[in-house]
Structure formats: C-alpha cells, structure tokens
Subunit: 482 residues, 2 copies
Amino acid sequence: MPSPTPSPPTHPLYNHTPTNITSLITTINHPTPIPGTRDPETLASRSSTPHSPAPLPHQVPHYIFFPRSTDHVSRILKACHEKRVAVTSFAGGTSLGGAVAALWGGVCVDFGDMDAVGEVWWADLMVEVQAGVGWVALNRVLGEGREGDGKGLFWPVDPALGARVGGMIAMSCSGTNAYRYGTIKNWIISMTVVLANGTIIKTRNRPLKSSAGYDLNHLIIGSEGTLALVTEAVLNSRRYRGICMSGLLLLLLCGMVSLEAIELADREAMFAIEKSGLARGRVWDVAPTLFLKFAGSEGAVREQIEFVREMCARFPGGGLVAASNEMEFVDTVWGGRKCLANALVAMKNDPGDLFLSTDAAVPSSKMALLVEESNRIVREEGDSSWFCASVGHVGDGNVHTAIVCPAAEKDRAGVLVEKIQRLALELEGTITGEHGVGLKLRDLLEEEVGKEGVDVMRKIKFALDPRGILNPDKVVRLEAGY
Amino acid sequence: MPSPTPSPPTHPLYNHTPTNITSLITTINHPTPIPGTRDPETLASRSSTPHSPAPLPHQVPHYIFFPRSTDHVSRILKACHEKRVAVTSFAGGTSLGGAVAALWGGVCVDFGDMDAVGEVWWADLMVEVQAGVGWVALNRVLGEGREGDGKGLFWPVDPALGARVGGMIAMSCSGTNAYRYGTIKNWIISMTVVLANGTIIKTRNRPLKSSAGYDLNHLIIGSEGTLALVTEAVLNSRRYRGICMSGLLLLLLCGMVSLEAIELADREAMFAIEKSGLARGRVWDVAPTLFLKFAGSEGAVREQIEFVREMCARFPGGGLVAASNEMEFVDTVWGGRKCLANALVAMKNDPGDLFLSTDAAVPSSKMALLVEESNRIVREEGDSSWFCASVGHVGDGNVHTAIVCPAAEKDRAGVLVEKIQRLALELEGTITGEHGVGLKLRDLLEEEVGKEGVDVMRKIKFALDPRGILNPDKVVRLEAGY
C-alpha cells in the first residue's frame, strides 16, 4: 500500500524508512501483539488537533500503538530506542501549543486504552490510576466513596474537560481550583514512568513528603513527553482523613477542622519533657500527646477547638487542654513541643552517649504502625538501659524514633535504625522524610528508588556536573556499585 | 607550615595536591581577593558537626572561602572546575546525615557572610534573600512589615533554629508547619544558582506558577549541593494579599477569607457570556466580574460572604451577588464561569476564524497591569473588527487574553500574542503559566530562562534520552541555535 500522505521531514537522529518502521512493528508485536493502527485519519488526529494544529500537514506519526499496560509501553520504547524511531504520546488531546505534533513522524503511543482506576487508599486519600484516566471520570469514582460510607474524595485538578491524567502530568496543568489547591504538581504522589530505552522506574513511594534524592516527580511533571512516558500514577486527593492509633484518637479531620500543625510525642517523649524541666509553665501528663495548632478568626478557632474537644472526649483516655490565648499557647502549650528535641538529647546519661534518630515517613494510614513497631524494635532488640522515644509530624506521616545509648553500642544501635528504615520501605514509605540522603542513606536509597532510579539520578548529576566536583559522593556515589 | 592533620583520601577525579590548591587560591583571588581561611579548627568545623560527624577525622576541606556575592561563588566554582578541585558548601550547619562532610577535601564555600535580606515585594508576599540568611532572622524582618502599616508577613518553613535558607533549600527541609503549609518545596519562587563550571542561572521568574520548561527549581531543591550552589532565592510568604485594579476591587485577603477559587472575566468576556446564551439561569451585568468560590462549614461560609460583601460595597461599582445554596451556586453562579471558554470561541463570526490565546502569568501585584496592557495592545494594534477579551486565574496571576480574528490575519495576530508574552517577561512573569512550551514558545523560553537555562534543560534531556527519541524538538530543540 502506498503511503497515504507525503512523508514527514527526516532528521539524521532517526531511521524512519518504511523497512525500519515495518521491522519495528514486527519486533514490538513479537511474541504477543500490541493493538495499533496505520489508519491515515487516526494518524493525523494524534498529531494535530483543532486547538493545536501541527505546523505542516504531513507531520503525522507512521504508526500508533494502543498499549494496555506499563509493560506494553516498555516494549514499545525499548524497540524504538534500539531502532532509532521517534516517539510522541497522546492522552486526552486537549493540550495547546503543539506538544502532540509528530514533527519527524515515528511512533505515537496513545494512552486511550489505559484508563483503569486502580487501588483507592481511602484513609490516605490516595488513588492509583493508569495514564489514560480522565479527571472527570476519576472524580466520579472518588466522589462515590467507599460503598455505603459516603466518604467521598475529590482530586482538585480541573483543566479542560477531556484531559487525561498522563497528559495533565506531561503538561504540568492547572485549572480554576489552582488558587486554593495549587497546580497538578501538588497532587501527584508518585509515578511509574518508562524511560527512553524502555527501563521502568517508579519515581517514589507513597509517603506525603520525601527527601530521598533528586525530585524525579517534579522533573517528569511538565516535561511534555520529552524525558519519559508516564504510564501510571498515585494521586493524592482531598476531603476525609482519619487516623486512629491504638485506641488513642490521633486525629479527625473532615473539612471542618483546618489545623496549622499536628505533632505527636509518645509516652517516653513526654517523660523526657518532664524529666528535663525544659517545659515552662505547665506540668504535662506522661502519656502519648498530640500538640495541635489552630489559626483563623477568633470565632473560627473557638468553633474548631470545641469540635476537637468533643471528638477527643469520645475516646478512652482522650482529652483536650486548650490555651485560652495566644500568649499562653506560645509559652506553655507549644512550648512543650518546642523543647522536645533538647529534652530528648538531655536523656544522655553521659556526655559521650550517642543520640541517633530515624527519619522514616509513611502513608498516613500506616503511621501508627510505624511508631509502634519502631519502638518495639528498639525495646526488644536493643538494650533495656537505652532510652527510646518517638515523635512525629502527624500530617506528613514522618516519624523520628530517637535512641540514646552508650557510644560503644554504636554498631548495634545502627543496625536497629536500619531495620526501622527498611520497615518504612515495607510500609510504602521513605527512608528520609525531611533530613536528606547525605552519606548514610546512599545504599538504602537504592532499595527505595531501585538501582534504575539511582542510575537516573547519577546521569542527571554528571549532566550538570561533568567533572563531579560538587559535594562529591553525596546522595549518589560517584561510581555505581562500590 | 606543615599540614595540621593527615590529608584527606585522594580520588582520581580530583587534583588536591598542595601545588594545585595554592594555585587555585591564587587564581580565585586575582584580581580581587575573596575572604578565606586555612585555619585548622575552622576547616574541621565545616565538615563535621556534633549532629553530623564526618566519617573520618581527616576528611576536612583544604580551604574555606567566604563569598559575599553570586559573582564570588561563580569565580570560585569556575576555578575549581578548571583545576578539578572538589567543592562542599556550608550554611547553618544544622543538617543531619553527613551532607556537609568534605570526603575528599577540596574547597568549602561558606555562605555565612551572604546574609542580606534584599527586596521585599509586600503586595506579592515575596522576598529576595541571599543564601546565608537564617529563617528566624528573616521572619523577624518580615514580621515587622512595611514601616507603619503593620502588614507583616511570615515564611512558614521552620526546621532547626540555626538553619539558613541556602542549606534549607539544599536539604529540602520541612518543620512542624509542614502539615499546614507544606515543605520548603512550596515556598521557593526562584533561585539564582551557580553551576559546577561557574555559569550563573536563574531558575525562573516571579510568577506564582509556571509551565516554562523543565522544573529546575525542584531539581535543585533537595540536591544537597551536588548539582549547583544556591546563592540567592526569591521566597513566597504568607498573610496579607491585596490587589486593586483600576478602581475595581479585585480582591482583599488578609487571613480572614480563605477562598477556593477567584476567577476574573473582563467586560468583553462577560459580553461574550451574555451574547452566547450559554449561561443558564442568570442574566449577568456586562461589567468586569470576579467569580469567587467559598468553602467550609455553613457558618464560616456565611461569615466570609458577609465580610467580602462589606469590602465590595466600599468600592465604586463594587457589589456582591451570592448564591443562597450550593445548587444555585453550581447552576447559575459558577455556571457563568464554566461556560466562559466556549462563550469566547463562540465569538467567531465564521467557523474558519482563528481563536488565539495568551498564557502569561505575572506576580500578583502586576496582574492588573498585564490585563490592561494586553487588552490595549490588541485593541490599538489589532484590527477594530477583532474580538478581544481577557480572563484570569487571579490567585495565580495567570491571564489568558483571547483574540478572535479572520484566518488571514494569523501572522498579524501572532505578533501581538508574542508582544504580550514579552510584556509578561518584563513584568517578571512567564510566557506560559499553565499551557506549556510545546513548539510555539521554544524561542521565547530562551528569553525567559536564558540560553544557559535552556542549555541545562537540553543536557538533562540527553542525559535521560541519549538518542533524542522522546517527543523530539519540543520544550527544547534537539540542537541549540537553529
């Protein structure tokens, strides 16, 4: 069959001869075929849209694949990389400015058939989707909530109605909700992406925040399909959040309460505060405690405090102590939280004692488990003379378990810290929520983002710093595998 | 003088012989010296801190520079790059995990003397700082407000007390306020950074949001001094925001009102809504209009509506029409905003007419000027038969000026669109707030982030996609300068 339109322009980087394209399609379809088409109208529609026409009429892809999975996309890119065929991608087709145009032809990857909504983690406000899911359809699913409980969620990114998640990520989109909720950059937890050579990487785990290496999420968001293709994503959404921890009410938020900060100190941490004498103006109960900060107009703050007081009273052992004014809050209530770090260090029996701390962060629903298990690991596997306490940034699911022990026990305590960091990974979290990789976490970083993820980071490192002079051997080692 | 400690380990990438280090220092200090020291105690203190000891005692820098400016840092890095000397950096020294350790020795850049707070843009809630400014000191300056007006700001990132902005950015830090305000990733507008070879780049302009190419901000944040050194930053802060536009009250926010969305439609846009007949259930005044969305408990929403109503009444021509319930809001009030895009396209006299739109975003304080000037450019320099209207995402300072004109006028209208995009750059904004670079904005991107910025993006592109197969020639061209 003769080509229905004149061929696209040629570029020395690509081999788009009919023979090579045919050979590419055969390779990709072996052993199992991936749906695709050469239909001229379909080809043209993926390169040129009413809102975003291609500059020249013959700038159309030679072939379109309709993958059903990340593995399909990986097979397509691996072959295109080997055979030097250009790749454009297409999701909802609502972008402006020509990002979908197949300037040099090649293969188009159309995500229209990857439109499954996967797991919803209702308590974490997170949902997993394939790249072809539309934001309108997604919000229909989320809005219905878990069967019968009416706890609906919504994902607040609202660009053109036809937009699909993969394209929205590629274009770094926003919409009218961006004023209140920010752009899509704020609503992506992690992505599964396929690199140019077919390598599949996951950009990060499921904690709300992470300091684990270079920010691959933000590098891919807005890269318009030029750095990698997004095949799946975990999104965070809004509305209901509830965490319960061992019978202790940790927090109840349902849009009524908008707190400024929620900080957890476990029993041992409160013991340290009392023992240190650093908290002025108030004697604290030695019991697991949440420090809450409210803000807003006086009426709004009062309303929120009463709401939380009522919630706390429903749980055994629960109760709320509220400051009656800002001065009292700063001096005595928040003062308790502020002295915490020093109070923990003050638990050293000897100035030479070690103070070690973890920095694990996990999805909210798993934070209670992380606190309990971290404490259990140190108490059961460490020495009974050691001091151990956990404090946490509750909104982030970020927990610091502190260990104070004699200097001679450094290695033994280090093993336990590493065990807690691996536990965080098992709980879909990160080894470092806020402290960074530095030196100590370089090897564990490979367990978190994979050897492939660290390789990408190293490539970026040397692209920007070819002689490796900047803070050498931090975050990623200068050479792999030593 | 003999070396006070054993030398650090050697690495084949670096030349840390005494001769080379001495020659480096001479080079850097020519023609004007940059303060520095070889004092052994100072050297040790920049590599090893109580919270973060270096693994080995002799892992200390050979020399410390105390630069006073971005230009100083550029001179230091240029020479280190040429002479293959490793570089670590130091700000507040509060990081954990060994990020400051000078594993292979070399030069340490200490930002302690770069602690100036620069310009404060009170209406934009933005402030410019040098990398050595501490967050506690910064908040003291911001909290005092403009002399006499009491409109204080605060920057909500609150890690260890001694932390300084440059180190906080390098380590991607957070603190107790992160629950409410997010980590430092949310509080950086732009950075001036020095690359390994001494090249100075600015990561972005001053709009709140931008889709202009790869996200260099997030790539540098959390890179722990391994990709570039941050020398200056523009931070966004909180509290008071006010924008007035030509006597029309655009918006008043002072912590009392927390809106979900603020959308602007100018007179012509409202005319299009009325003419199109697309807005159901309500006849709109043909006058500049703001669409506001409130959310929260019923009491809170009522309180906010009354507050805004009172504010509006103070301005000539101001007034507030509020929906009395959610159904009315969705159907008639927000329905007006939702039909806007279609109403503008419906202004075509002929199906073949062109619909062009800008995507400029500027700092909030300059949004009114952008709207007025964009409209003026089209009305004065375009044809009087064209239709022109501006709509805006007010919270983001993102304005779309739409032009409807005959297809034959494509080039003439395109010149005006480009003029508006350049105007956005003059107003410290971006050529694309949300639509992306695609094909059309590649050349203007170079005016926005500089040739050096585009070069960095191209290096990242080819680091991840060495054969250039992914969406070729988008965002950045495959080759520079064609």
